[in-house]
């Protein structure tokens, strides 16, 4: 279980509070207006944003002493998810051994992961030789190899077309189901949320609320979310 215990994040005048518990294996959309702090919330869980107060716990264990890379999670950013100078296989290998000390068995796992995301045989390529969607798949394949119990997605597919994005989200759903990961997906698109996430958090007006069931939430949104969704209430 991921527990955010009276968490407060402060950046100058801006502030965000969160106090909630999320079950393992849940798929959760994070909704809210631009600038409300959705990415910041993920950043706090991942260890990039310091807490002003409160604790973040995973299975009862405080994450504070853990560096980002040591936390029980994988995160995909909006961009810069791959090292441009490393090959696809090396980028994946970092998910197994950050020092890239890879055994034969590890290489076999990398090949299988590539196959799993539909990129079989592309391990030797550099990221710039791949399309945007393929780059996203590589990042997902690495998350698959890391096999952490949480997966944080900070709009990594925002630049993709609708069809491609749906395809990627389906892939995320499959992978998450296989590994039983808790997924937090930041998105601007209610359709994505409906399609992918049975549950949703709302980040607005300095607070984090939820989890809610996604469908009723979107059908009858609270005022802050409604304004953002363009359904002035």
């Amino acid at each position: 279980m991921l527990r955010l215990e009276e968490v407060k994040i402060r950046q100058g005048d801006w502030q965000l509070a969160a106090d909630l518990s999320l079950a393992p294996g849940a798929r959760m959309a994070v909704l809210g207006p631009s600038g409300a702090g959705k990415s910041t919330l993920l950043g706090a869980v991942a260890g990039f944003v310091p807490l002003a107060a409160g604790r973040i716990l995973w299975e009862g264990r405080d994450l504070a002493p853990l560096e980002p890379g040591a936390r029980p999670l994988s995160i995909l950013f909006q961009d810069q998810n791959l090292f441009a100078h490393l090959s696809v296989a090396q980028n994946l290998g970092l998910g197994i051994s950050p020092a890239l000390r890879l055994t034969r068995a590890d290489h076999a796992r990398i090949d299988r992961a590539l196959e799993r995301v539909g990129l079989a045989g592309m391990g030797a390529r550099k990221p710039h030789a791949l399309s945007g969607g393929q780059q996203g798949r590589v990042a997902l394949a690495r998350a698959l190899l890391r096999a952490r119990p949480m997966l944080l997605l900070d709009e990594p597919f925002a630049a993709l077309g609708p069809a491609l994005k749906s395809e990627m989200l389906d892939l995320v759903a499959e992978i998450a189901a296989e590994s039983g990961s808790l997924v937090l997906l930041v998105t601007h698109d209610p359709a994505d949320a409906l399609r992918f996430a049975p549950h949703a958090l709302v980040v607005a007006e300095g607070r984090t609320q939820g989890p809610f069931d996604t469908a009723p939430l979107l059908a009858d949104p609270p005022p802050a979310l409604a304004a953002y969704l363009g359904r002035g209430g």
Partner: protein, 516 residues
């Protein structure tokens, strides 16, 4: 706890490097002061030296940077065959040993140089290179290329996205200057002025040869006088301290003026500014042509002067050249070992590290040499330490330049990949091997080349350590000059320039090859 330890270990190499540099600069000062029984009082003439030093360094810095801006802009927005070679050759004066650079300038701007002979033939009044104007001219000659390189780097960091935006909004050159270039220059210029100012602060040989007389007395000469004429090492230490204080004041001033703006992660290669036509095209062409003439003509003159004597060089020069080469290579590598952790640390936000890294720039070679002698003599025979000390001191003195080259790309690296590397737990040696070295190979090669070139041309702070069979090439060249063998000295200068550029080229190419 674990996190704290890990952060500490990431900062450890940077802390060690900063500590070593601060110890070298301040420790040698302290050793000299201790030997003298304390810091001595200054004389009235020292204030005159301070005034002249500040004025010439200030004028040299402002003029160098003012000329470097149009040059860098012309290079940034024009494309022509051989542009890359031009940018490389542009660096030549900066890499040239000072002793050779002065010879080169005199060959063109001297009383019997090419320029004045031409003016004379046309019946025009001749110009004198001797006097404060000569000191500034020489400093501009030496530092304009470095300033232009630094500013050019600024142009390269304007994100392609922003250039694209500017084009889509139909910006003309004036709007581009206002919205893109000026903010960038505001961030880059203070650092460039600072760097050139600090380099000129400790100028000695240039200021003396071209200064025209004792009015051109710099602080470094005052230190020399305190040591050698007045036998007053306490005053020398005080003057050394004054130089360090000037460095700190200049750094503080530059930090107040500079507003480093976050540079967006540029994803795309080959960002090119629009190249406007009309008079701007003419202006850019003129800037490039004049710079070529100003920077490369003296180089050509001094190289040509020495060509004839190359065959008659005394055989002793080859061992000296070999010693210089290996000291230079070692010094280049050691510079990177010191500067890379510092640059990464500065990118993480360590201002104190930058301070320590800039300190060697104002260390008086004479104080440094004397202090090291006092500190090391109890440990080993000075003659045995001649080459290691030369190597280490040359490396330390090159760190400030390496830092100026490495800090911007180190910041960029952190902006681009800092989070991702942290998320994947990529740290320590693995981070160095898989991320830092491949991504920074190009600036590392460039910085290493600059450091090696400096070491090649350095006359050494080590007169106290010297041993007969340890002479380096510049030392040997100076010996030839000191014994009437001026043709051989000219040939040695040509050899020195050739080896210096070859070494720089090798480092620079190595960086390019290794660059991912």
């Amino acid at each position: 706890m674990a996190g704290g330890l890990r952060r500490l270990s990431a900062g450890l190499p940077a802390g060690l490097a900063a500590g070593a540099l601060a110890l070298l600069v301040l420790g040698t000062l302290g050793a000299v002061a201790r030997q003298a029984g304390g810091f001595g009082g200054l004389r009235g003439s020292d204030l005159g030296a301070l005034r002249f030093t500040l004025m010439q360094a200030g004028a040299s810095a402002l003029i160098s940077v003012a000329l470097a801006v149009p040059l860098a802009r012309a290079i940034a927005r024009r494309r022509w065959p051989g542009r890359q070679a031009f940018v490389t050759a542009l660096g030549a004066p900066f890499l040239m040993p000072v002793i050779v650079a002065v010879m080169a300038l005199i060959a063109v701007f001297g009383r019997s140089g090419a320029l004045n002979r031409g003016l004379d033939a046309l019946g025009l009044p001749t110009l004198s290179i001797y006097g404060p104007q000569g000191v500034v001219l020489a400093h501009v000659f030496l530092n304009l290329p470095f300033a232009a390189r630094m500013i050019l780097q600024g142009w390269a960091t304007i994100p392609a996205e922003r250039i694209r935006l500017a084009r889509s909004l139909g910006f003309g050159p004036a709007e581009i200057a206002r919205h893109l270039e000026r903010p960038m220059l505001r961030a880059v210029l203070p650092g460039a002025v600072l760097a050139v100012f600090l380099v000129c602060l400790t100028s000695f040989a240039v200021a003396m040869t071209l200064g025209g007389g004792p009015r051109a007395t710099t602080l470094e000469l005052a230190i020399y006088q305190a040591f050698r004429f007045d036998f007053d090492p306490g005053r020398a230490a005080s003057l050394g301290l004054l130089q360090v204080a000037l460095c700190l004041a200049a750094l503080a001033a530059a930090a107040r003026v500079a507003r480093p703006e976050p540079l967006g992660a540029g994803l795309e290669q080959g960002r090119a500014l629009p190249a406007p036509g009309g008079w701007r095209r003419l202006g850019d062409g003129l800037a490039i042509a004049l710079a070529t003439l100003f920077l490369l003509a003296p180089l050509a003159a001094v190289t040509a002067r020495g060509l004839a004597g190359l065959a008659d060089l005394p055989p002793g020069i080859w061992p000296a050249a070999a010693r210089s080469l290996w000291v230079a290579v070692g010094s280049g590598v050691l510079t990177l070992v010191l500067a890379l952790p510092l640059a990464l640390g500065v990118a993480r936000g360590g201002r104190g590290l930058e301070l320590a890294g800039m300190l060697p720039l104002v260390a008086s070679p004479l104080v440094l040499g004397t202090g090291l002698f006092l500190l090391l003599r109890p440990l080993a025979a000075p003659a045995d330490l001649a080459l290691p000390v030369t190597l280490a001191v040359n490396a330390a003195l090159s760190v400030p330049f390496a830092l100026r080259i490495l800090i911007p790309p180190a910041r960029q690296l952190r902006d681009d990949y800092g989070r991702l590397a942290a998320a994947l737990d990529l740290r320590g040696l693995a981070r160095l091997r898989l991320l830092v070295l491949p991504r920074l190979a190009r600036p590392l090669g460039f910085a290493g080349g600059v450091a090696a070139a400096f070491s090649m041309g350095d006359l050494g702070v080590i007169a106290l350590f010297a041993a007969p069979d340890r002479a380096t090439l510049p030392f040997y060249l100076y010996g030839l000059m000191g014994s009437y063998r001026l043709d051989a000295a000219a040939a040695a200068a040509t050899l020195l320039v050739a080896l210096t550029f070859a070494l720089f080229w090798a480092f620079d190419q190595g960086g390019r090859r290794a660059s991912a």
